[in-house]
């Protein structure tokens, strides 16, 4: 995946860190100190969709195969900048009775983006 930097218009991963102290949540969330709410942004011209290194997902490969075979509905545009890799967010926090809860929330952190 590509990291967003400068004035690039192409599909990339934009990092966005939410500091729990800044939003006043550090008193009930013990770990981690923040949430990397990265997101995908940018344009996906048709010629970019499916290029190696830009979209390595299984779904992209399938779509390209369909396009190559001229499957109906795959000819006109529709390529979109989407997450291609995600990981869970592990949280350790207090509930309202001061019990301590640990859980892994799946698919919360975007690790890479690509054109669908």
């Amino acid at each position: 995946g590509i990291e967003c930097q400068g004035g690039s218009q192409m599909c990339c991963r934009q990092e966005f860190f939410v500091d729990f102290r800044e939003i006043g949540w550090h008193d009930w969330i013990i770990q981690p100190e923040g949430y990397a709410m990265n997101f995908c942004t940018g344009q996906c011209p048709l010629h970019v969709a499916g290029m190696p290194g830009i979209a390595a997902s299984f779904h992209t490969a399938v779509l390209n195969l369909l396009k190559a075979n001229g499957a109906p509905g795959t000819a006109g545009g529709g390529s979109c900048c989407v997450p291609t890799a995600r990981r869970p967010l592990s949280l350790l926090y207090y509930d309202r009775d001061s019990n301590i809860v640990k859980t892994d929330i799946p698919d919360m952190v975007v690790e890479a983006c690509g054109c669908s």
């Binding site: 599909c11 966005f16 939410v18 939003i23 949540w25 008193d27 009930w28 013990i30 949430y35 709410m37 997101f39 995908c40 942004t41 940018g42 344009q43 996906c44 545009g77 529709g78 390529s79 979109c80 900048c81 989407v82 949280l91 350790l92 926090y93 207090y94 509930d95 309202r96 009775d97 001061s98 019990n99 301590i100 809860v101 640990k102 859980t103 892994d104 929330i105 799946p106 919360m108 983006c113």
Partner: protein, 226 residues
Amino acid sequence: TKWGGSQCPACGVPGSDPERQRELLLNLAKQNILDKLHLTQRPTLIQPVSRATLRTALRRLHGPRGRILSDSILGVSGIGAEEQEYEIISFAETGHSTANRTVLDFRLSPDQTSAGLEVLQARLGFFLQMPPNGTWSMYVKVLLPRPQDTNLDLTTQHQLEVDSSGWYQFLLGPEAQAAYSQGHLTLELEPKGWGAQSPVVLDKDAQQPFIIARVRIGKKHRIHRR
């Protein structure tokens, strides 16, 4: 998300200033986390636990298990990666304790993960301070509130052999499921043939008894896709 024409939603947030975008993203992050934790609002803490207590409990959570005093564990089987599990540490509030009996009360917050909560395993951790060279019996009684009133019923009783100072862990049986459904559990620790002072340490700084439970949200309404 709907997208009009050839523009897809990831092509940028149009027209808003950076400060407003940032505010929008922060609100989105907050809402996303609360939704995923099945919370309607952030918890307000009434009695925060001390750092030392927390540290001890966390060490017990994934560290060496020490002496485990029962084989009665709940059924645990293979868990799919897509199922969200929770590990919950609940610290004891002490009830009417005497030299021969220590009462531990636990508030288990059943509403935090909604109905259908499935307890995979729950274990009690407690610290004993004992003189060397000796073996004593200890009873662990599990009490649950009756459905029709607030009185407690004795559901099970276990006899343990203890012989030295340190942390002990006791695996709770199927009664843990009922306790988490009702939101409350009372345990009584009764050492036998003991002197004037109970060996159960209730120090709030580092040796406060606790329960560690591994739970997941029940399988109701789950749809399998092939």
